[in-house]
Point group: C2
Chain length 176, copies 2
């Protein structure tokens, strides 16, 4: 693409794709969660993710959950090893890590990255009908970080997951 | 899926997909970066991402970069608005936020989430040939958090991006 940016020092920083990276897939993003029950409920019931795989490590007292927005689950292998490899080829997987016992702590356990020390910002879902989605999430009692009508950016919203992680919501078409 | 987990309290937490979530796409993950030049170089030259869109906000002194591992860029619209909507429909997009001037600060600017206060853990790429990829990354001088041979998990590695964010590397097939 044409590099005409005003961000100082970035011109020329973008390289053409090395053939050695062919077939690379951005598979997943991992977030730690306080309460597996709350997060599984939120990501499946509220946001439509499917739980594709979970693995418990009882000796180390943690569990991993792999979720994704999959339109057709019929392609997913039943065999555990085949399924694991199938999941590894997907894009847009969310891995949730639950350290057992954190659900019994008082208050928030994890840091959302948007106050000091900052780093991670948010994940983002695009949805076909953003206004209808926001109305549904309001009705479900989901907390908003930014409603459509808040601030200057009227075409996007932010909700918060059970740990307070920000989830941006956008629509891949003009918002009318 | 069958819910036979040993993580206490999670049985029954997974809901069937609500039709209201049809068409939802896990579009992107946003990370703040200290130095746009360093991160654009790393994600394009080293990891094969393409820069699909960048937006500068000079008055607010920040820039956004949207990158993805796209095998065929010919489908990407040239028109900026059409392109923005096309990108919003993708999975596996990485959004990098650069607050102008952080590149001139000494030392790390952002928190990787893996020491206190913890939260975000990592992103993960799956690659067709993990051993060859790790050898290439070693040759390129990329720092490793965990090499294939380190620890008990011999089938995965972790590298660090220019801000120290962890990037897991896996292979969607048995590692022989």
């Amino acid at each position: 693409m044409t590099e005409t940016r005003t961000d100082p020092g970035t011109t020329g920083a973008v390289a053409a794709r090395d053939p050695a990276t062919a077939g690379f897939v951005f598979n997943h993003t991992m977030l730690r969660i306080k309460d597996a029950r709350a997060s599984l409920d939120f990501y499946t019931r509220v946001l439509g993710f499917s739980l594709l795989r979970s693995t418990d490590f009882p000796e180390a007292a943690f569990s991993l959950y792999f979720l994704a927005l999959v339109d057709d689950l019929s392609a997913m292998p039943a065999d555990p090893e085949a399924r694991q490899h199938w999941i590894a080829g997907l894009q847009g997987v969310l891995e949730l890590t639950h350290n057992h016992g954190t659900e019994d702590q008082d208050g928030p356990v994890y840091h959302d990255g948007n106050s000091e020390p900052r780093g991670f910002g948010h994940i983002c879902l695009s949805v076909p009908d953003l206004r209808a989605t926001c109305a549904r999430l309001e009705a479900l009692g989901v907390p908003f970080q930014k409603r459509l009508e808040d601030g200057r950016m009227k075409h996007l919203a932010f909700i918060k997951d059970p740990d307070g992680y920000w989830i941006e919501l956008i629509q891949p078409s003009p918002l009318v």
